[in-house]
């Protein structure tokens, strides 16, 4: 594999991370969904590129699944959901933009710190892509806890999974990637299904969680 392959792989990885920042920055629900769709699209491209670069055809399958489900089907469904329920379009955030961005930068720095001691190896990408994927995972989680509405939280979850797939596809010769990505998808589907099914408008917690948490809180 040539230099170009590495550079392009890094480029796509970097783009996924950049989109994570975009996700964190967005204030409107539709924009969040669109940014997520874009991230999934870039991920699909990255997966396909890796499939080509590593000569691993099964990665194309991963790319196709990512593209079809995450970049197209789920965002479309979410858009219609938002429209139908007339959800509050503005995203409530528990953290301000600046603190969340700063935290995001901090997480990227942490990822690099953690991965840095991994010695540069003959194999491509280990350090850089791992750091990128780790950052995406951490930022997905940050999004989950910094956003108040359920839909954005689920998007944070899915963005986190994007980080996982990014890591999985960029590791050379990783077996079972397709199977794993399908399994991940089931998880995602379940999450989205949950949000749809339970009509969680605002946040996870709005179900009966306050209630649930209090059930045990006093004698009856």
């Amino acid at each position: 594999m040539g230099h170009l392959a590495y550079d392009a792989a890094h480029l796509f990885g970097g783009a996924v991370l950049a989109l994570s920042f975009v996700l964190l920055y967005q204030r409107r629900l539709t924009a969040v969904i669109n940014a997520y769709a874009l991230q999934a699209l870039v991920l699909a491209i990255a997966a396909a590129w890796q499939g080509w670069a590593q000569g691993a055809p099964h990665l194309f399958l991963t790319a196709a699944i990512t593209l079809g489900v995450k970049a197209i089907a789920i965002p479309l469904g979410m858009h219609s959901f938002v429209r139908r329920l007339g959800m509050n379009r503005a995203v409530e955030s528990a953290l301000g933009v600046f603190p969340s961005m700063a935290l995001g930068v901090g997480l990227v720095a942490l990822s690099i710190m953690v991965v840095l001691p991994v010695t540069a190896q003959s194999h491509m990408l280990t350090r850089e892509d791992l750091a990128l994927a780790l950052s995406v995972v951490l930022m997905g989680m940050l999004m989950m806890i910094s956003r108040r509405t359920a839909l954005t939280q689920v998007i944070g979850f899915m963005s986190m999974e994007n980080g996982l797939i990014l890591a999985a596809v960029s590791v050379e010769g990783m077996p079972l990637v397709v199977e794993l990505s399908v399994a991940v998808l089931v998880l995602l589907a379940f999450a989205v299904f949950g949000v749809f099914f339970f009509r969680i408008r605002d946040q996870f917690d709005s179900l009966h969680l306050d209630h649930l948490d209090r059930v045990d809180g006093g004698p009856r």
């Binding site: 953690v114 991965v115 001691p117 991994v118 010695t119 190896q121 194999h123 280990t126 791992l130 994927a133 780790l134 995972v137 989680m141 989950m144 979850f157 986190m160 999974e161 980080g163 996982l164 890591a167 999985a168 590791v171 050379e172 010769g173 990783m174 077996p175 079972l176 199977e179 794993l180 399994a183 991940v184 089931v186 998880l187 379940f190 999450a191 949950g194 339970f198 996870f204 179900l207 009966h208 969680l209 209630h211 649930l212 059930v215 045990d216 809180g217 006093g218 004698p219 009856r220």
Partner: protein
């Protein structure tokens, strides 16, 4: 290939149950399948070996036997329990069927996760088991049950996602030594090659696997899903959840711990495990004092005991490993017995609050005494086995980390005292009114069996079993 069958039988049963409408037949299929799984698992010690997908080593065999045993007795227990739930209208026919299907699927996937020789397969099976468990917990369809299921799903989902990242990094660490492909994802190959792995990657993988599977093992502060799931789901599930899902996650953590421990450059896995274990022990011990719901109470007790076991595994060394394994085994047995009794008691009293259940000995002597015995057992009192395992754990603590005996002791005291507090309120005093059917004596047989085993294992373990436990502990080095 028996190993495959062990996991396959419940899974197949789950599929079959999906098409069986007759409730009676369904219940018997469940019993037959789980009994068969247990029987097959018992044959595993003579089938040791590592395949591409399945790994039959002492740890997996031990956990598989334990899990399938609890699955079996819970299946016996479930038959009458579900019947009563249907009579009282808390479950309808469809949900009863769903329950049986999901229960078997859950069991099958957990056994698969235990017996798998592949990081990815383990992870996938865990994920599937989680989803099955989430569905079962939400089965009563009450608002609270759905909320609890959702909480469990979100937390365990994130946990499982983190575990996947850890799995990928672990593969990455193994790849240079074992080359690309399946061997680098095989537990047995990893265990051999781990000393040569790059330590930084191993460390990173460990952190993610610890947090990921630690969530499933309900280690504090990752345990929040567990009490709610226990409290709101059907009781038989609590019996299994409390023991097996914790055990399966602990088993995976143990394997990871083994990899870390064998690598000279990696951080010591013991200290994080001990830290989380100790935190769980203390947090749960204190939380036990503010409980008003019986099942939540015992769920916290599971967090406490699971934490103690994790702590023991963190100490390391053959003695602590032996003690930890004994503790896990005994706790699983005892807690399943307790939940079976609690299930009967809440059916009898028509509620699962402490305010509903009181004076059990007065209203149903056998049930009350069995529950009391279970609580005494879980409080670590003789003649039940947890006494022995806690003794050994304390001893191991003092040998390696004398000062940590203080917090561990504090946790044991606070937790044990809380147990007795509730023993008195549940079983003694004047009886609260009965609002449901009383269990027959035969319904208590599984619980008795568990408690009897807990006595024998702790106080008079046959030499063969001692050798077996030592073998398991040896394998965990």
């Amino acid at each position: 290939m028996i190993a495959g069958l062990v996991a396959l039988v419940p899974l197949l049963a789950a599929v079959v149950l999906g098409f069986v409408r007759d409730r009676a037949i369904g219940a018997w299929i469940v019993i037959a399948a789980s009994t068969a799984a247990f029987g097959l698992a018992c044959a595993l010690p003579w089938q040791m070996g590592a395949g591409t997908l399945l790994l039959v080593d002492p740890l997996s065999v031990h956990m598989a036997i334990l899990t399938s045993f609890v699955g079996m007795t819970t299946a016996w227990f479930s038959r009458r329990y579900i019947e009563i739930e249907m009579i009282t209208g808390r479950l309808d026919g469809l949900r009863a069927r769903q329950y049986h299907v999901l229960f078997q699927a859950f069991l099958g996937f957990m056994l698969l996760a235990l017996l798998s020789n592949n990081l990815g397969l383990t992870w996938g099976a865990m994920e599937a088991a989680t989803i099955a468990a989430v569905l079962v917990v939400g089965l009563p369809r009450t608002d609270l049950a759905i909320s609890a299921a959702w909480k469990m799903f979100v937390l365990c989902g994130v946990g499982i996602a983190l575990a996947l990242f850890g799995t990928i990094v672990l593969y990455l660490a193994a790849q240079p030594s074992l080359g690309p492909g399946l061997p680098a994802m095989s537990w047995s190959a990893l265990a051999v090659a781990a000393p040569g792995f790059k330590a930084p990657l191993l460390n990173l993988a460990f952190v993610f696997l610890l947090i990921g599977y630690g969530t499933k093992a309900a280690l504090a502060p990752l345990h929040a899903w567990m009490p709610d799931a226990h409290a709101e789901g059907p009781t038989p599930v609590s019996a299994v959840l409390s023991g097996s899902i914790l055990n399966v996650a602990l088993a995976v953590l143990l394997r990871v711990r083994g990899l870390m421990a064998s690598n000279p450059d990696a951080i010591s896995p013991g200290i994080p495990l001990m830290a989380l274990g100790l935190l769980s022990l203390l947090l749960a011990a204190f939380a036990l004092w503010r409980r008003y719901d019986v099942k939540r109470f015992f769920a916290f007790s599971s967090v406490e005991q699971s934490g103690l076991a994790a702590f023991a595994f963190g100490i390391g060394g053959p003695a602590a490993m032996f003690a930890g394994m004994l503790h896990v085994t005994l706790h699983t047995l005892i807690k399943a017995a307790i939940f079976q009794c609690v299930g009967r008691a809440s059916q009898l009293k028509g509620g699962q609050k402490f305010a509903d259940i009181g004076g059990l000995i007065a209203s149903h002597r056998a049930l009350g005494l069995t529950l009391a015995a279970g609580i005494v057992a879980v409080a670590g009192m003789p003649p039940f086995g947890l006494f022995s395992s806690e003794f050994l754990i304390m001893l191991a603590t003092i040998r390696s980390w004398p000062w940590l005996a203080l917090p561990v002791g504090l946790g044991l005291v606070v937790g044990g005292w809380a147990m007795f507090n509730r023993l008195i309120s549940l079983c003694l005093g004047a009886a609260t009114p009965n609002r449901g059917p009383a269990p027959a004596l035969i319904d208590l047989v599984p619980a008795w069996l568990h408690l009897a085993l807990a006595v024998v294992l702790g106080m008079a373990m046959p030499a063969g079993l001692v050798a077996w436990f030592s073998l398991v502990a040896e394998g965990l080095r």
